[in-house]
Protein backbone atom coordinates (compact mmCIF):
# COMPACT_ATOMS: atom_id res chain seq x y z
CA UNK A 1 0.00 0.00 0.00
CA UNK A 2 1.44 3.31 -1.04
CA UNK A 3 -1.15 5.36 0.81
CA UNK A 4 -1.88 5.39 4.53
CA UNK A 5 -5.32 5.70 6.13
CA UNK A 6 -6.41 9.13 7.31
CA UNK A 7 -6.70 9.51 11.09
CA UNK A 8 -9.75 10.64 13.02
CA UNK A 9 -11.06 14.20 12.68
CA UNK A 10 -9.55 15.03 16.08
CA UNK A 11 -6.14 13.69 15.01
CA UNK A 12 -6.22 15.53 11.68
CA UNK A 13 -7.28 18.75 13.36
CA UNK A 14 -4.39 18.54 15.84
CA UNK A 15 -1.97 17.96 12.97
CA UNK A 16 -3.40 20.96 11.09
CA UNK A 17 -3.23 23.13 14.21
CA UNK A 18 0.39 22.09 14.82
CA UNK A 19 1.32 22.92 11.23
CA UNK A 20 2.34 19.29 10.59
CA UNK A 21 0.08 18.97 7.56
CA UNK A 22 -2.19 21.02 5.32
CA UNK A 23 -5.73 20.60 4.05
CA UNK A 24 -4.32 20.22 0.56
CA UNK A 25 -2.05 17.37 1.71
CA UNK A 26 -4.95 15.64 3.51
CA UNK A 27 -7.13 15.94 0.44
CA UNK A 28 -4.44 14.45 -1.83
CA UNK A 29 -4.00 11.57 0.60
CA UNK A 30 -7.76 11.03 0.62
CA UNK A 31 -8.12 11.13 -3.18
CA UNK A 32 -5.09 8.86 -3.75
CA UNK A 33 -6.40 6.37 -1.22
CA UNK A 34 -9.86 6.25 -2.82
CA UNK A 35 -8.27 5.46 -6.18
CA UNK A 36 -5.71 2.98 -4.86
CA UNK A 37 -8.08 0.88 -2.76
CA UNK A 38 -10.67 0.65 -5.52
CA UNK A 39 -13.49 -0.47 -3.20
CA UNK A 40 -16.08 1.37 -5.28
CA UNK A 41 -17.01 3.28 -2.14
CA UNK A 42 -17.01 6.50 -4.17
CA UNK A 43 -19.22 6.98 -7.22
CA UNK A 44 -17.36 10.12 -8.19
CA UNK A 45 -14.48 12.24 -6.93
CA UNK A 46 -14.75 16.02 -7.34
CA UNK A 47 -10.96 16.41 -7.27
CA UNK A 48 -10.52 19.85 -8.82
CA UNK A 49 -13.29 21.60 -6.92
CA UNK A 50 -12.14 19.96 -3.69
CA UNK A 51 -8.54 21.10 -4.31
CA UNK A 52 -9.69 24.70 -4.60
CA UNK A 53 -11.66 24.36 -1.37
CA UNK A 54 -8.70 22.76 0.46
CA UNK A 55 -6.42 25.60 -0.69
CA UNK A 56 -8.96 28.14 0.58
CA UNK A 57 -9.08 26.31 3.93
CA UNK A 58 -5.28 26.46 4.19
CA UNK A 59 -5.37 30.19 3.45
CA UNK A 60 -7.99 30.72 6.15
CA UNK A 61 -5.88 28.81 8.62
CA UNK A 62 -2.78 30.86 7.72
CA UNK A 63 -4.82 34.02 8.28
CA UNK A 64 -6.02 32.79 11.68
CA UNK A 65 -9.58 32.52 10.43
CA UNK A 66 -10.50 28.87 11.03
CA UNK A 67 -14.26 28.47 10.61
CA UNK A 68 -14.92 25.33 12.63
CA UNK A 69 -13.31 22.09 13.83
CA UNK A 70 -14.20 20.64 10.41
CA UNK A 71 -12.45 23.39 8.45
CA UNK A 72 -10.23 21.78 5.82
CA UNK A 73 -11.18 18.20 6.76
CA UNK A 74 -11.97 15.88 3.82
CA UNK A 75 -15.42 14.28 4.05
CA UNK A 76 -17.78 12.37 1.73
CA UNK A 77 -21.54 12.58 1.16
CA UNK A 78 -23.97 9.87 0.10
CA UNK A 79 -25.29 10.17 -3.44
CA UNK A 80 -28.78 11.19 -2.24
CA UNK A 81 -27.64 14.40 -0.46
CA UNK A 82 -27.83 17.36 -2.86
CA UNK A 83 -24.76 19.52 -3.44
CA UNK A 84 -25.17 22.66 -5.53
CA UNK A 85 -23.61 22.17 -8.96
CA UNK A 86 -22.79 18.48 -8.39
CA UNK A 87 -24.54 15.37 -9.70
CA UNK A 88 -26.97 13.72 -7.28
CA UNK A 89 -27.94 10.33 -8.64
CA UNK A 90 -29.16 8.10 -5.80
CA UNK A 91 -27.10 5.43 -7.59
CA UNK A 92 -29.95 5.19 -10.12
CA UNK A 93 -29.97 5.27 -13.91
CA UNK A 94 -33.08 7.42 -13.80
CA UNK A 95 -31.04 10.36 -12.46
CA UNK A 96 -28.26 10.01 -15.01
CA UNK A 97 -27.01 13.43 -15.98
CA UNK A 98 -28.88 15.26 -13.22
CA UNK A 99 -26.93 18.09 -11.59
CA UNK A 100 -28.40 19.50 -8.39
CA UNK A 101 -29.32 23.20 -8.67
CA UNK A 102 -29.15 23.68 -4.88
CA UNK A 103 -27.52 22.50 -1.66
CA UNK A 104 -29.19 20.27 0.88
CA UNK A 105 -29.26 22.12 4.21
CA UNK A 106 -26.76 19.55 5.54
CA UNK A 107 -24.42 20.20 2.58
CA UNK A 108 -24.69 23.96 3.02
CA UNK A 109 -23.86 23.71 6.74
CA UNK A 110 -20.87 21.49 6.08
CA UNK A 111 -19.66 23.89 3.40
CA UNK A 112 -20.03 26.84 5.80
CA UNK A 113 -18.03 24.87 8.37
CA UNK A 114 -15.23 24.57 5.81
CA UNK A 115 -15.40 20.79 5.30
CA UNK A 116 -14.00 19.65 1.94
CA UNK A 117 -16.31 17.18 0.17
CA UNK A 118 -14.18 14.75 -1.87
CA UNK A 119 -17.17 13.26 -3.69
CA UNK A 120 -20.32 11.15 -3.58
CA UNK A 121 -20.52 7.72 -1.98
CA UNK A 122 -22.16 4.62 -3.39
CA UNK A 123 -25.50 3.37 -2.08
CA UNK A 124 -28.37 1.04 -2.80
CA UNK A 125 -30.52 2.67 -5.48
CA UNK A 126 -32.75 5.27 -3.78
CA UNK A 127 -31.47 3.90 -0.42
CA UNK A 128 -33.53 0.74 -0.91
CA UNK A 129 -31.40 -2.08 0.36
CA UNK A 130 -29.08 -3.40 3.05
CA UNK A 131 -25.99 -4.30 1.04
CA UNK A 132 -25.21 -1.56 -1.55
CA UNK A 133 -25.61 -4.32 -4.16
CA UNK A 134 -28.67 -2.55 -5.54
CA UNK A 135 -26.56 0.34 -6.82
CA UNK A 136 -27.04 0.73 -10.58
CA UNK A 137 -23.26 1.22 -10.74
CA UNK A 138 -22.23 -2.00 -9.01
CA UNK A 139 -21.56 -2.98 -5.40
CA UNK A 140 -19.12 -1.47 -2.91
CA UNK A 141 -16.58 -3.87 -1.40
CA UNK A 142 -16.28 -4.30 2.35
CA UNK A 143 -12.74 -3.23 3.34
CA UNK A 144 -12.56 -6.16 5.79
CA UNK A 145 -13.17 -8.68 3.01
CA UNK A 146 -13.59 -7.62 -0.58
CA UNK A 147 -15.86 -10.57 -1.32
CA UNK A 148 -18.34 -9.29 1.21
CA UNK A 149 -20.92 -6.49 1.15
CA UNK A 150 -20.43 -3.39 3.30
CA UNK A 151 -24.10 -3.38 4.30
CA UNK A 152 -26.38 -0.63 3.18
CA UNK A 153 -27.85 1.43 2.01
CA UNK A 154 -25.07 3.84 3.09
CA UNK A 155 -22.43 1.19 2.28
CA UNK A 156 -20.17 3.56 0.35
CA UNK A 157 -20.01 6.01 3.26
CA UNK A 158 -19.29 3.22 5.77
CA UNK A 159 -16.60 1.62 3.59
CA UNK A 160 -14.93 5.00 2.90
CA UNK A 161 -14.61 5.66 6.65
CA UNK A 162 -13.51 2.10 7.49
CA UNK A 163 -10.81 2.20 4.81
CA UNK A 164 -9.47 5.56 5.99
CA UNK A 165 -10.40 7.37 2.77
CA UNK A 166 -12.20 10.01 4.85
CA UNK A 167 -12.51 10.39 8.62
CA UNK A 168 -16.16 11.43 8.38
CA UNK A 169 -18.94 10.73 5.91
CA UNK A 170 -22.67 11.29 5.88
CA UNK A 171 -25.38 8.83 4.97
CA UNK A 172 -29.12 8.52 5.39
CA UNK A 173 -31.02 6.08 7.57
CA UNK A 174 -34.63 5.11 6.86
CA UNK A 175 -34.77 1.70 8.55
CA UNK A 176 -31.12 1.10 9.47
CA UNK A 177 -29.19 2.40 6.46
CA UNK A 178 -26.52 4.17 8.55
CA UNK A 179 -26.33 1.86 11.58
CA UNK A 180 -26.23 -1.50 9.76
CA UNK A 181 -23.39 -0.63 7.32
CA UNK A 182 -21.51 1.03 10.21
CA UNK A 183 -21.72 -2.29 12.08
CA UNK A 184 -20.68 -4.36 9.06
CA UNK A 185 -17.70 -2.09 8.33
CA UNK A 186 -16.55 -1.60 11.93
CA UNK A 187 -17.23 2.14 12.24
CA UNK A 188 -19.53 4.41 14.25
CA UNK A 189 -22.84 5.41 12.64
CA UNK A 190 -25.50 7.72 14.08
CA UNK A 191 -29.18 7.81 13.13
CA UNK A 192 -30.43 11.02 14.74
CA UNK A 193 -33.95 11.38 16.12
CA UNK A 194 -36.50 12.04 13.40
CA UNK A 195 -36.42 15.77 12.69
CA UNK A 196 -33.06 16.46 14.33
CA UNK A 197 -31.44 17.03 10.90
CA UNK A 198 -33.21 18.86 8.09
CA UNK A 199 -34.25 16.66 5.18
CA UNK A 200 -34.19 19.58 2.74
CA UNK A 201 -32.18 18.40 -0.27
CA UNK A 202 -32.16 14.76 0.81
CA UNK A 203 -33.86 12.84 -2.01
CA UNK A 204 -36.96 11.38 -0.34
CA UNK A 205 -37.41 7.64 0.10
CA UNK A 206 -39.86 7.47 3.04
CA UNK A 207 -40.53 10.94 4.35
CA UNK A 208 -41.74 9.94 7.83
CA UNK A 209 -38.56 7.91 8.44
CA UNK A 210 -35.60 9.41 6.52
CA UNK A 211 -32.78 11.05 8.49
CA UNK A 212 -29.29 12.22 7.51
CA UNK A 213 -26.53 11.24 9.93
CA UNK A 214 -22.74 10.92 10.33
CA UNK A 215 -20.41 7.91 10.07
CA UNK A 216 -16.97 8.21 11.67
CA UNK A 217 -14.24 6.29 13.50
CA UNK A 218 -15.31 7.55 16.94
CA UNK A 219 -18.47 8.79 18.60
CA UNK A 220 -16.63 12.03 19.35
CA UNK A 221 -16.15 12.67 15.62
CA UNK A 222 -19.74 11.64 14.90
CA UNK A 223 -20.91 14.05 17.62
CA UNK A 224 -19.02 16.86 15.94
CA UNK A 225 -20.48 15.98 12.53
CA UNK A 226 -23.98 15.88 13.97
CA UNK A 227 -23.59 19.26 15.69
CA UNK A 228 -22.74 20.84 12.34
CA UNK A 229 -25.70 19.49 10.36
CA UNK A 230 -28.41 19.34 13.07
CA UNK A 231 -30.94 22.00 14.01
CA UNK A 232 -34.06 23.80 12.89
CA UNK A 233 -34.45 24.77 9.24
CA UNK A 234 -37.10 27.04 7.75
CA UNK A 235 -36.98 24.83 4.62
CA UNK A 236 -38.12 21.67 6.44
CA UNK A 237 -41.21 21.97 8.61
CA UNK A 238 -40.45 18.55 10.15
CA UNK A 239 -37.05 19.73 11.43
CA UNK A 240 -37.39 20.03 15.21
CA UNK A 241 -37.17 23.56 16.67
CA UNK A 242 -35.14 22.46 19.74
CA UNK A 243 -31.65 23.98 20.02
CA UNK A 244 -28.74 21.63 19.33
CA UNK A 245 -26.56 20.88 22.38
CA UNK A 246 -22.78 20.78 22.03
CA UNK A 247 -22.72 17.00 22.12
CA UNK A 248 -18.91 16.93 22.37
CA UNK A 249 -18.97 18.79 25.69
CA UNK A 250 -20.92 15.96 27.30
CA UNK A 251 -18.44 13.22 26.39
CA UNK A 252 -16.89 12.78 29.81
CA UNK A 253 -16.59 8.98 29.86
CA UNK A 254 -19.02 8.71 32.75
CA UNK A 255 -21.87 6.21 32.54
CA UNK A 256 -22.28 5.61 36.27
CA UNK A 257 -25.93 5.53 37.22
CA UNK A 258 -27.16 5.29 33.61
CA UNK A 259 -29.92 2.74 33.26
CA UNK A 260 -29.62 0.64 30.11
CA UNK A 261 -32.52 -1.56 29.07
CA UNK A 262 -31.93 -4.90 27.36
CA UNK A 263 -34.96 -5.80 25.23
CA UNK A 264 -35.47 -9.52 25.77
CA UNK A 265 -36.81 -9.97 22.23
CA UNK A 266 -33.44 -8.75 20.86
CA UNK A 267 -31.35 -11.21 22.85
CA UNK A 268 -32.89 -14.45 21.66
CA UNK A 269 -30.54 -16.93 20.00
CA UNK A 270 -32.76 -17.51 17.00
CA UNK A 271 -31.88 -15.68 13.79
CA UNK A 272 -28.68 -14.11 15.11
CA UNK A 273 -25.04 -15.08 14.64
CA UNK A 274 -23.88 -16.57 17.99
CA UNK A 275 -20.46 -14.90 17.74
CA UNK A 276 -22.06 -11.51 17.14
CA UNK A 277 -24.46 -11.94 20.04
CA UNK A 278 -21.55 -12.90 22.33
CA UNK A 279 -19.75 -9.65 21.37
CA UNK A 280 -22.85 -7.60 22.22
CA UNK A 281 -23.26 -9.38 25.57
CA UNK A 282 -19.61 -8.65 26.38
CA UNK A 283 -20.14 -4.99 25.45
CA UNK A 284 -23.09 -4.79 27.84
CA UNK A 285 -20.91 -6.30 30.58
CA UNK A 286 -18.27 -3.65 29.84
CA UNK A 287 -20.85 -0.88 30.29
CA UNK A 288 -21.93 -2.49 33.56
CA UNK A 289 -18.31 -2.60 34.71
CA UNK A 290 -18.14 1.12 33.93
CA UNK A 291 -21.01 1.78 36.32
CA UNK A 292 -24.12 1.54 34.16
CA UNK A 293 -27.08 -0.39 35.50
CA UNK A 294 -28.90 -2.78 33.20
CA UNK A 295 -32.37 -4.20 33.36
CA UNK A 296 -34.41 -6.43 31.11
CA UNK A 297 -37.23 -4.74 29.23
CA UNK A 298 -39.75 -5.99 26.68
CA UNK A 299 -40.72 -4.65 23.28
CA UNK A 300 -43.58 -7.07 22.64
CA UNK A 301 -44.32 -5.99 19.05
CA UNK A 302 -40.75 -6.56 17.84
CA UNK A 303 -41.77 -9.53 15.67
CA UNK A 304 -44.04 -7.22 13.64
CA UNK A 305 -41.53 -4.42 13.11
CA UNK A 306 -40.11 -5.54 9.75
CA UNK A 307 -43.55 -6.08 8.22
CA UNK A 308 -44.75 -2.71 9.53
CA UNK A 309 -41.65 -0.98 8.26
CA UNK A 310 -41.81 -2.43 4.74
CA UNK A 311 -45.46 -1.49 4.36
CA UNK A 312 -45.06 2.07 5.66
CA UNK A 313 -41.75 2.79 3.92
CA UNK A 314 -42.76 1.39 0.54
CA UNK A 315 -46.14 3.08 0.55
CA UNK A 316 -44.33 6.38 1.08
CA UNK A 317 -41.71 5.44 -1.51
CA UNK A 318 -44.27 4.65 -4.22
CA UNK A 319 -45.66 8.13 -3.72
CA UNK A 320 -42.28 9.90 -3.47
CA UNK A 321 -40.85 8.19 -6.55
CA UNK A 322 -43.77 9.22 -8.76
CA UNK A 323 -41.83 12.44 -9.41
CA UNK A 324 -39.31 10.59 -11.60
CA UNK A 325 -41.20 10.80 -14.86
CA UNK A 326 -38.70 11.99 -17.46
CA UNK A 327 -40.24 15.45 -17.70
CA UNK A 328 -38.43 17.81 -15.33
CA UNK A 329 -35.07 16.16 -14.67
CA UNK A 330 -33.07 13.02 -15.10
CA UNK A 331 -33.17 10.49 -17.85
CA UNK A 332 -35.94 10.36 -20.45
CA UNK A 333 -36.49 7.23 -22.56
CA UNK A 334 -35.34 7.98 -26.11
CA UNK A 335 -38.40 6.54 -27.85
CA UNK A 336 -42.10 6.95 -27.06
CA UNK A 337 -45.36 7.45 -28.94
CA UNK A 338 -47.18 9.59 -26.38
CA UNK A 339 -46.90 11.02 -22.86
CA UNK A 340 -48.12 7.87 -21.15
CA UNK A 341 -45.48 5.81 -22.95
CA UNK A 342 -42.85 8.41 -22.13
CA UNK A 343 -43.60 7.89 -18.41
CA UNK A 344 -43.71 4.11 -18.63
CA UNK A 345 -40.57 3.68 -20.69
CA UNK A 346 -38.60 6.24 -18.71
CA UNK A 347 -39.49 4.62 -15.41
CA UNK A 348 -39.16 1.02 -16.61
CA UNK A 349 -35.73 1.65 -18.12
CA UNK A 350 -34.56 3.93 -15.32
CA UNK A 351 -35.45 2.02 -12.13
CA UNK A 352 -33.70 -1.16 -11.02
CA UNK A 353 -35.39 -4.38 -9.92
CA UNK A 354 -35.52 -3.64 -6.17
CA UNK A 355 -36.96 -0.16 -6.72
CA UNK A 356 -39.67 -1.54 -9.01
CA UNK A 357 -40.48 -4.26 -6.48
CA UNK A 358 -40.96 -1.66 -3.75
CA UNK A 359 -42.95 0.75 -5.90
CA UNK A 360 -45.32 -2.10 -6.80
CA UNK A 361 -45.67 -3.22 -3.19
CA UNK A 362 -46.28 0.38 -2.09
CA UNK A 363 -48.82 0.97 -4.85
CA UNK A 364 -50.60 -2.26 -3.93
CA UNK A 365 -50.92 -1.49 -0.22
CA UNK A 366 -52.23 2.01 -0.97
CA UNK A 367 -54.72 0.85 -3.58
CA UNK A 368 -58.46 0.68 -3.09
CA UNK A 369 -59.46 -2.51 -1.33
CA UNK A 370 -56.08 -3.08 0.33
CA UNK A 371 -55.45 0.26 2.05
CA UNK A 372 -57.17 -0.67 5.33
CA UNK A 373 -55.85 -4.22 5.46
CA UNK A 374 -52.24 -3.23 4.85
CA UNK A 375 -51.36 0.46 5.04
CA UNK A 376 -53.73 1.56 7.78
CA UNK A 377 -53.04 -1.63 9.71
CA UNK A 378 -49.30 -0.97 9.50
CA UNK A 379 -49.78 2.58 10.76
CA UNK A 380 -51.72 1.21 13.73
CA UNK A 381 -49.03 -1.34 14.53
CA UNK A 382 -46.53 1.51 14.20
CA UNK A 383 -48.36 3.17 17.08
CA UNK A 384 -47.98 -0.01 19.17
CA UNK A 385 -44.25 -0.23 18.35
CA UNK A 386 -43.81 3.43 19.30
CA UNK A 387 -45.64 2.80 22.60
CA UNK A 388 -43.41 -0.23 23.29
CA UNK A 389 -40.36 2.03 23.05
CA UNK A 390 -41.95 4.83 25.07
CA UNK A 391 -42.78 2.35 27.79
CA UNK A 392 -39.24 0.92 27.78
CA UNK A 393 -37.71 4.41 27.91
CA UNK A 394 -39.92 5.35 30.85
CA UNK A 395 -37.65 3.20 33.02
CA UNK A 396 -34.34 3.42 31.13
CA UNK A 397 -32.05 6.07 29.69
CA UNK A 398 -30.96 3.88 26.77
CA UNK A 399 -31.51 0.49 25.21
CA UNK A 400 -28.63 -1.77 24.13
CA UNK A 401 -29.06 -4.31 21.32
CA UNK A 402 -27.14 -5.91 18.48
CA UNK A 403 -27.11 -3.64 15.40
CA UNK A 404 -27.41 -6.43 12.82
CA UNK A 405 -28.17 -10.15 13.02
CA UNK A 406 -24.96 -11.18 11.22
CA UNK A 407 -21.55 -9.82 10.32
CA UNK A 408 -20.94 -8.88 6.66
CA UNK A 409 -22.39 -11.41 4.21
CA UNK A 410 -20.95 -12.34 0.83
CA UNK A 411 -21.80 -10.23 -2.19
CA UNK A 412 -24.53 -12.09 -4.09
CA UNK A 413 -25.42 -14.32 -1.14
CA UNK A 414 -28.76 -12.64 -0.43
CA UNK A 415 -29.52 -10.72 -3.58
CA UNK A 416 -31.94 -13.39 -4.87
CA UNK A 417 -33.98 -13.40 -1.66
CA UNK A 418 -35.58 -9.99 -0.98
CA UNK A 419 -37.22 -11.08 2.27
CA UNK A 420 -33.95 -12.42 3.72
CA UNK A 421 -32.32 -9.09 2.87
CA UNK A 422 -35.15 -7.19 4.57
CA UNK A 423 -34.46 -9.12 7.80
CA UNK A 424 -30.98 -7.49 7.96
CA UNK A 425 -32.81 -4.52 9.50
CA UNK A 426 -34.63 -6.45 12.22
CA UNK A 427 -32.88 -4.61 15.10
CA UNK A 428 -32.91 -1.13 13.58
CA UNK A 429 -36.40 -0.54 12.18
CA UNK A 430 -38.31 -0.18 15.47
CA UNK A 431 -36.35 2.93 16.46
CA UNK A 432 -36.94 4.34 12.97
CA UNK A 433 -40.67 3.79 13.21
CA UNK A 434 -40.69 5.49 16.64
CA UNK A 435 -38.53 8.44 15.56
CA UNK A 436 -35.94 7.47 18.20
CA UNK A 437 -32.17 8.00 17.95
CA UNK A 438 -29.63 5.21 17.49
CA UNK A 439 -25.90 4.70 17.26
CA UNK A 440 -23.88 1.67 16.23
CA UNK A 441 -20.35 1.39 17.60
CA UNK A 442 -17.81 -1.41 17.03
CA UNK A 443 -17.89 -4.03 19.82
CA UNK A 444 -15.82 -6.95 18.59
CA UNK A 445 -15.32 -9.47 15.82
CA UNK A 446 -17.09 -12.66 14.78
CA UNK A 447 -15.24 -14.82 12.26
CA UNK A 448 -12.79 -11.96 11.68
CA UNK A 449 -15.57 -9.53 10.77
CA UNK A 450 -16.72 -6.49 12.76
CA UNK A 451 -19.79 -6.53 14.98
CA UNK A 452 -21.79 -3.50 16.11
CA UNK A 453 -23.40 -2.60 19.43
CA UNK A 454 -26.54 -0.52 18.98
CA UNK A 455 -27.55 2.00 21.63
CA UNK A 456 -31.00 3.55 21.27
CA UNK A 457 -32.25 6.73 22.93
CA UNK A 458 -35.68 8.36 23.05
CA UNK A 459 -36.29 11.23 20.60
CA UNK A 460 -33.77 14.04 21.24
CA UNK A 461 -31.72 11.76 23.50
CA UNK A 462 -28.57 12.05 21.36
CA UNK A 463 -26.47 13.62 24.12
CA UNK A 464 -26.72 10.74 26.58
CA UNK A 465 -26.55 8.18 23.76
CA UNK A 466 -23.29 9.63 22.41
CA UNK A 467 -21.88 9.94 25.94
CA UNK A 468 -22.45 6.21 26.52
CA UNK A 469 -21.04 5.21 23.11
CA UNK A 470 -17.97 7.39 23.68
CA UNK A 471 -17.53 6.00 27.18
CA UNK A 472 -17.59 2.48 25.74
CA UNK A 473 -15.00 3.43 23.11
CA UNK A 474 -12.73 4.88 25.80
CA UNK A 475 -12.69 1.49 27.50
CA UNK A 476 -12.22 -0.64 24.37
CA UNK A 477 -10.04 -0.75 21.26
CA UNK A 478 -12.50 -2.21 18.75
CA UNK A 479 -13.18 1.11 17.02
CA UNK A 480 -9.44 1.64 16.51
CA UNK A 481 -8.94 -1.62 14.54
CA UNK A 482 -8.17 -1.21 10.86
CA UNK A 483 -8.98 -3.72 8.14
CA UNK A 484 -5.72 -5.66 7.63
CA UNK A 485 -5.93 -5.61 3.84
CA UNK A 486 -6.03 -1.85 3.62
CA UNK A 487 -3.80 -0.66 6.47
Amino acid sequence: MATTPLGTVSELRSALDAGETTSVALLEQSLARAVELDLHAMLQLRADAARAEARAADERRAAGDVRSPLDGIPIALKDNISQDGEPCGCASRILEGYVSPYDATASARLREAGAVVIGRTNMDEFAMGSSTEHSAYGPTRNPWDRERAPGGSSGGSAAAVAAGIVPLAFGSDTGGSIRQPAALCGVVGVKPSYGRVSRYGLVAFASSLDQIGPLARTSADAALGLEVVAGPDPRDSTALPDPVPRYRDGLDGDVSGLVIGLPREYFVEEGVDPGALACVRAAVAELEAAGAKTREVSLPHTQFAIATYYLVANAEASSNLSRFDGVRYGRRAPEFADLSELYRRTRSEGFGAEVKRRILLGTYVLSAGYYDAYYRKAQQVRTLIRRDLESAFSGCDLLATPTAPDPAFRIGERSGDPLRMYLSDVYTVSASLAGAAGVSTPCGFAGGLPVGLQLLAPPLGEAVMLRAADAYERRTEWHARRPPEVS
Binding site: G330, D338, R344, Y364, Q379
Partner: protein
Protein backbone atom coordinates in the same frame (compact mmCIF):
# COMPACT_ATOMS: atom_id res chain seq x y z
CA UNK B 1 -53.38 -19.78 -1.87
CA UNK B 2 -51.55 -16.97 -3.57
CA UNK B 3 -52.21 -13.51 -2.24
CA UNK B 4 -51.55 -11.57 -5.40
CA UNK B 5 -52.15 -12.59 -8.99
CA UNK B 6 -50.26 -11.69 -12.11
CA UNK B 7 -53.27 -9.66 -13.28
CA UNK B 8 -53.10 -7.59 -10.10
CA UNK B 9 -49.36 -7.07 -10.44
CA UNK B 10 -49.90 -5.78 -13.96
CA UNK B 11 -52.67 -3.49 -12.78
CA UNK B 12 -50.35 -2.05 -10.09
CA UNK B 13 -47.65 -1.59 -12.72
CA UNK B 14 -50.16 0.39 -14.78
CA UNK B 15 -50.99 2.62 -11.81
CA UNK B 16 -47.28 3.13 -11.08
CA UNK B 17 -46.50 3.84 -14.77
CA UNK B 18 -44.21 0.84 -15.13
CA UNK B 19 -44.11 -1.62 -18.03
CA UNK B 20 -43.09 -5.12 -17.08
CA UNK B 21 -41.64 -7.66 -19.46
CA UNK B 22 -43.31 -11.06 -19.39
CA UNK B 23 -40.59 -12.73 -17.36
CA UNK B 24 -40.37 -9.73 -15.01
CA UNK B 25 -44.11 -9.77 -14.27
CA UNK B 26 -43.95 -13.49 -13.55
CA UNK B 27 -40.98 -13.14 -11.20
CA UNK B 28 -42.44 -10.12 -9.39
CA UNK B 29 -45.75 -11.91 -8.82
CA UNK B 30 -43.90 -14.67 -6.96
CA UNK B 31 -41.71 -12.24 -5.00
CA UNK B 32 -44.59 -9.97 -3.99
CA UNK B 33 -46.60 -13.02 -2.97
CA UNK B 34 -43.80 -14.11 -0.63
CA UNK B 35 -43.53 -10.61 0.84
CA UNK B 36 -47.30 -10.25 1.31
CA UNK B 37 -47.39 -13.65 2.95
CA UNK B 38 -44.82 -12.36 5.45
CA UNK B 39 -46.53 -9.03 6.14
CA UNK B 40 -49.88 -10.77 6.61
CA UNK B 41 -48.62 -11.54 10.12
CA UNK B 42 -49.89 -8.07 11.04
CA UNK B 43 -53.46 -9.40 10.76
CA UNK B 44 -52.81 -11.20 14.05
CA UNK B 45 -52.22 -7.95 15.95
CA UNK B 46 -55.21 -6.56 17.82
CA UNK B 47 -55.46 -2.93 16.72
CA UNK B 48 -59.04 -2.19 17.70
CA UNK B 49 -59.22 1.44 18.79
CA UNK B 50 -55.51 2.09 18.05
CA UNK B 51 -54.84 5.41 16.35
CA UNK B 52 -52.65 5.12 13.25
CA UNK B 53 -49.23 6.82 13.35
CA UNK B 54 -48.56 8.71 10.14
CA UNK B 55 -45.62 10.55 11.62
CA UNK B 56 -43.31 9.83 14.56
CA UNK B 57 -43.32 13.34 16.02
CA UNK B 58 -46.13 15.75 16.82
CA UNK B 59 -46.27 18.04 13.82
CA UNK B 60 -46.64 21.77 14.16
CA UNK B 61 -47.15 24.09 11.24
CA UNK B 62 -44.49 26.76 11.60
CA UNK B 63 -45.31 30.10 10.02
CA UNK B 64 -42.96 32.62 8.53
CA UNK B 65 -43.33 36.25 7.49
CA UNK B 66 -45.37 36.58 4.31
CA UNK B 67 -42.53 38.08 2.38
CA UNK B 68 -41.16 37.12 -1.04
CA UNK B 69 -37.85 35.26 -0.83
CA UNK B 70 -35.59 34.16 -3.64
CA UNK B 71 -36.47 30.72 -5.03
CA UNK B 72 -35.07 28.57 -7.79
CA UNK B 73 -34.64 30.71 -10.90
CA UNK B 74 -36.45 29.40 -14.02
CA UNK B 75 -33.23 28.83 -15.97
CA UNK B 76 -31.74 26.84 -13.06
CA UNK B 77 -34.95 24.82 -12.75
CA UNK B 78 -34.94 24.05 -16.48
CA UNK B 79 -31.26 23.16 -16.73
CA UNK B 80 -31.99 19.48 -15.97
CA UNK B 81 -34.97 19.20 -18.29
CA UNK B 82 -34.66 16.47 -20.94
CA UNK B 83 -36.59 18.82 -23.25
CA UNK B 84 -37.42 22.47 -22.59
CA UNK B 85 -38.87 25.30 -24.62
CA UNK B 86 -38.57 28.87 -23.40
CA UNK B 87 -39.54 28.76 -19.73
CA UNK B 88 -41.45 25.49 -19.96
CA UNK B 89 -40.87 21.74 -19.87
CA UNK B 90 -41.83 20.21 -23.19
CA UNK B 91 -43.81 16.94 -23.37
CA UNK B 92 -45.56 15.11 -26.22
CA UNK B 93 -48.98 16.43 -27.14
CA UNK B 94 -51.59 15.35 -24.57
CA UNK B 95 -54.84 16.68 -26.05
CA UNK B 96 -56.07 15.01 -29.21
CA UNK B 97 -57.03 17.10 -32.23
CA UNK B 98 -56.18 20.71 -33.17
CA UNK B 99 -52.77 22.00 -34.20
CA UNK B 100 -49.63 20.50 -32.66
Amino acid sequence: MSRITRVEVERMAGLARLSLADEEAERLTGELDTILDYVDALARVDTVGVEPTAHPMPLATPLRQDRAEPGLAPDAALRNAPDAAGTTFRVPKVIEGGEA
